[in-house]
């Protein structure tokens, strides 16, 4: 796959609407606020060509584009976020929105009449929904509703909808409202009700975006020379859903998802529920426990079964994961991490469920853990998770996070025939003796006889089972035998997992270490430093339990080891349990946000210099 970079250090936002919609004011407010909190900002207002173009037409669209971030030196070409107050604004600006970007629309003005005025058709919208992260808001009516008790007339109320829009964008980027509020207070000193109305609309917009768990789409772009092929945009949650479906098709098994909605994982369930066309079954359970246990039931019955959730939901599934471990059934558990603890910051990203994924169960219950690193490779790792689950008869935990789930990037469409084969452990009727816990001596994997298969009736369950025969057993030594079987079965996966690779300058003293969604920022930081002549190497982990078998060997080649994570150092602690001989330094950030390349580079340099 082509290398990717992530450029969330700088963001381009465009506000677009009718000339009367107050887009210039809106844009100015946003840039001032950004500047005040320390961003570099570059702006580009574009007024309609005609002075008095008819309302609602493309000619009448007024726009304000701004580019903000740590290092910014132009107003940007393509925007990450477009606010379109009407169809004309959308039509005029859509081709300048980055693939997979976020588009916020005022649904109230997306009427047939306005489409007509803009000279385009409603149908067009559908396509846009597919390729962008569209956030809908009936801004006009919500603003009116919000201001209903201000005593303002209808028109004046509607005029504040630009502030509603601004509030939403403030929410997406965690901007404080204070600057704009102060602006209105001073501007409308003499008519405090107008000031109040605008501030109210602003706050309501902010709250609205918060309430509906609106999230910005993280944009990811291919950087290196692009391979030939057919491409599409892909976000992490859809990629995950599709990866699972692809594995089921390849393995020639029905697919079953048992799940319960939770931000930011709900889209996986939403996507699978669309896929009735491929025969996929989605079971929206009453809770997360129901989600995983129906999946375990479906796995027992012969489906490729999965469950999808985020941190609080994973906590609820802990007991049932243990059941899948001891019954040695295939199951994929997708955890889309978000900011914690508890409900925490549900719409933000974090990598703090690693400990939970590795250790969050009673007893000795080992589970393979793998992690995707870009939105589109969620497809590959969801596929791999399924392959491991089916070939090794084990639950597998796939970690993604809010950053990947909502991130979008162009993706070269794979062909199903090129996907690696999946050889299930299905026991065919009439294929000789069956012992539920007899194992392949090399991989320690048991066979899968599913209900409906004549002659292989047997019982499984959560009580410890006798080696080979699978009857209930309390024999002390047998428990030890089975505990090691389960442990070794997972550890042996290191034999089939790909080896750890090093990117960047292999002669460096410093190896920076990462896993999961930090890949893009890490690799960019390393590449940029290398270009600047600073030596640094990078090891990124996709396979976490077990670790790639050459890990120790790779680590040994470097003098310094820096583990970078969006948590307080969970992977670093885990590495200590496996390879304690290295002295891991840590770089952590826990703000619900990804790293920035700038801060990474600075940290790397610091470490390199402090020899």
């Amino acid at each position: 796959m082509a290398k990717k970079i992530i450029e969330v250090e700088e963001v381009v936002v465009k506000f677009a609407g009718d000339s009367g919609d107050g887009m210039q004011l809106t844009g100015t407010q946003f840039s001032n606020t950004s500047a005040l909190i320390g961003d570099v900002v570059s702006t580009f207002p574009d007024y309609p060509a005609e002075i008095r173009a008819p309302q609602g037409t493309v000619g009448g669209v007024s726009g304000f584009q701004l580019h903000f971030g740590k290092i910014v030196d132009n107003p940007g070409d393509y925007s990450d976020v477009l606010v379109a107050m009407n169809p004309a604004a959308l039509k005029a600006n859509i081709r300048w929105v980055k693939d997979g970007g976020t588009i916020i629309i005022d649904t109230d003005s997306f009427t047939d009449k306005n489409f007509e005025k803009a000279g385009c058709v409603q149908e067009k919208l559908k396509e846009i929904y597919e390729n962008y992260n569209v956030i809908e808001a009936p801004m006009t009516s919500l603003t009116k509703e919000a201001l209903a008790d201000t005593g303002l007339d209808n028109k004046s109320m509607a005029r504040s909808k630009n502030m509603f829009a601004l509030g939403m964008v403030y929410c997406l980027f965690d901007r404080p409202l204070t600057h704009t509020e102060a602006f209105f207070d001073s501007k409308f000193k003499s008519s405090p009700d107008v000031a109040e109305a605008n501030k109210k609309a602003l706050r309501h917009g902010f709250n609205y975006a918060d309430t509906i768990h609106a999230m910005p789409s993280y944009r990811v772009q291919s950087a290196d020379s692009i391979e030939k092929g057919t491409y599409r945009n892909m976000n992490g949650n859809t990629a995950t859903a599709w990866g699972l479906l692809a594995a089921a098709e390849k393995a020639n098994l029905p697919f079953f998802l048992g799940s319960y909605p939770i931000t930011p994982a709900s889209e996986i369930l939403m996507e699978i529920s669309k896929r009735k066309d491929l025969g996929a079954k989605s079971f929206q359970a009453e809770d997360e426990i129901g989600g995983i246990v129906t999946a375990i039931g479906a796995g027992f019955a012969g489906s490729l079964a999965a469950t999808s959730t985020s941190g609080p939901g994973l906590a609820l599934k802990a007991e049932a994961i243990g059941l899948a471990v001891i019954t040695e059934l295939p199951l994929v558990i997708v955890n889309v991490q978000r900011g914690g603890p508890s409900t925490g910051l549900p719409t933000k990203t974090e990598q703090a469920d690693l400990f939970q994924a590795l250790y969050g169960r009673n007893g000795e219950s080992p589970v393979p853990v793998i992690a995707a690193s870009t939105p589109s490779n969620c497809f590959d790792y969801a596929y791999m998770a399924s392959k491991i689950a089916l070939e090794h008869m084990t639950p597998v935990l796939l970690l993604t996070d809010g950053f990947l789930a909502n991130g979008t990037e162009p993706w070269k469409i794979p062909s199903m025939k090129d996907m690696p084969a999946i050889k299930t452990k299905l026991k065919k009727a009439g294929s000789g003796e069956y012992q539920p816990y007899a194992r392949d001596p090399k991989t320690l994997v048991r066979e899968w006889a599913i209900p409906g298969t004549e002659g292989y009736e047997h019982r499984i369950g959560g009580l410890e089972k006798m080696d080979v025969t699978g009857t209930v057993s309390y024999v002390p030594e047998n428990h030890e035998v089975m505990t090691y079987h389960r442990q070794n079965k997972v550890e042996k996966l290191a034999e089939v997992f790909p080896e750890l690779e090093i990117e960047g300058d292999k002669t460096a003293d410093l190896l920076v270490i990462s896993w999961g969604s930090t890949y893009g920022h890490m690799t960019t930081a390393v590449r940029e430093l290398n270009k600047e002549g600073i030596k640094v190497a990078h090891a990124h982990f996709y396979y976490i339990n077990p670790l790639p078998k050459n890990t120790e060997e790779v680590f040994s080649k470097f003098k310094k080891h820096l583990v970078c994570e969006i948590n307080l150092g969970q992977f670093a602690a885990y590495l200590n349990t496996k390879y304690p001989k290295f002295n891991y330094k840590k770089y952590n950030k826990i703000q619900g946000l990804p790293f920035t390349v700038v801060e990474l580079k600075q940290k790397f340099k610091e470490i390199i210099e402090n020899k």
């Binding site: 396509e127 692809a246 009735k276 426990i289 246990v293 019955a301 199903m416 019982r459 959560g462």
Partner: protein, 338 residues
């Protein structure tokens, strides 16, 4: 392809039955094995799943596919198995603790969804396996290991909860009545949708005699009424008593007394979709002067969840242009880099 004929012995597994001698579970095991032998499925098409509890050890004793789950999750385990493979005949074994304490939510949702599972609720009004704590069906004031001074909680009535959850099939039986239980189980299996069969089960160790007032020789004729669809609701040693309507309530009458004729007696209609009368029948209790209702109390036709799922899949498949994963991958907007 005709199915082999079985006897109940074909459904005995090689594992020794480990319940306490005299435990009501043993008789229910026999009834299930007999019902399966009479039904029309192949042995390998039965899946028996359970949660945790004495009762939930059940699958180990059945020579079918079996899954002993975790506590309270029998309902979702069964729902998953059935939804994944609707061809299986799925039997869920659960206790009053497993189904109504920790598993209460799955129980009501399984019923609401109407998943075609036979739900056998072994109600011994106690937690057996953990040595005698009170359960959600233990009586108010009952002294148990965790209520040394008597409980202060009103019990659930499983049938009432089934009604409250949109239940379409509810039957009640007693462990010792193997024949009756067998027949009810066969009817439950044939019913499409979630069929709840509450079986009053005696725990000889921790709650012995809980049902004596219903089952003892002296009282059983007066305290049991076995309902049959289409038949008048009569009971008593010589079927001399019956039930009639009294406004929005039920009343026990004696045929021949106060001018009551047999034709005045209510006729049981298990198929009535309005649940009010079924609820009243379910709620009859000895302490209020009523006999306890047994048999199939409610049996109303309604599409089952997994069938509707299959149907929707067929409909969508027929309409959609996406037939394969490759189709999906190339659907929507794509572009070519050459």
């Amino acid at each position: 392809m005709s199915n082999p004929t079985y006897t109940f012995k074909d459904f005995k597994s090689d594992q020794e039955v480990r319940w306490c001698p005299g435990c009501g579970d043993t008789a229910i095991l026999m009834a299930v094995q007999k019902a399966m032998a009479e039904l029309d499925h192949k042995k390998e098409d039965y899946a028996v799943v359970s949660g945790i509890g004495c009762s939930s050890r059940f699958p180990y004793y059945m020579n079918t596919y079996g899954f002993h789950g975790i506590h309270g999750r029998a309902g979702v385990l069964a729902s998953g198995v059935k939804t994944a493979n609707p061809k299986l005949s799925v039997w869920q074994i659960t206790g009053d603790g497993d189904a109504l304490a920790i598993g209460g939510n799955h129980f009501i949702h399984e019923i609401r969804r109407n998943v075609n599972v036979n739900i056998l609720l072994f109600n011994n009004q106690i937690y057996g396996l953990t040595k005698g704590q009170y359960s959600p069906t233990s009586l108010f004031g009952q002294i148990t290991k965790t209520s040394p001074y008597g409980t202060v909680e009103q019990p659930f009535h499983p049938g009432e909860l089934v009604i409250g959850s949109q239940g379409k099939f509810f039957a009640r039986s007693i462990d010792s009545k193997v024949k009756e239980t067998t027949d009810i189980l066969i009817e439950a299996e044939k019913h499409i949708g979630a069929s709840v069969v509450e079986i009053l089960q005696n725990c000889v160790i921790y709650n012995d005699g809980a049902y004596d007032i219903i089952t003892s020789k002296e009282t059983r004729d007066d305290n049991q009424i076995w309902l049959e669809h289409g038949k008048p609701m009569v009971f008593g040693k010589d079927n001399e008593k019956g039930l009639v309507l009294n406004g929005f309530k039920l009343k026990v009458v004696k045929i021949g007394e106060n001018g009551i004729k047999e034709s005045d007696i209510l006729v049981h209609d298990a198929t009535e979709s309005d649940p009010s009368l079924h609820l009243a029948l379910i709620n009859m209790r000895v302490k209020d002067g009523f006999p306890v209702a047994f048999g199939v109390i409610r049996k109303v036709k309604s599409a089952s969840y997994e069938m509707l799922v299959e149907q929707q899949i067929e409909e969508v498949k027929a309409k959609s242009k996406i037939k394969t994963m490759d189709d999906l991958l190339h659907s929507g907007s794509t572009w070519l880099v050459e």
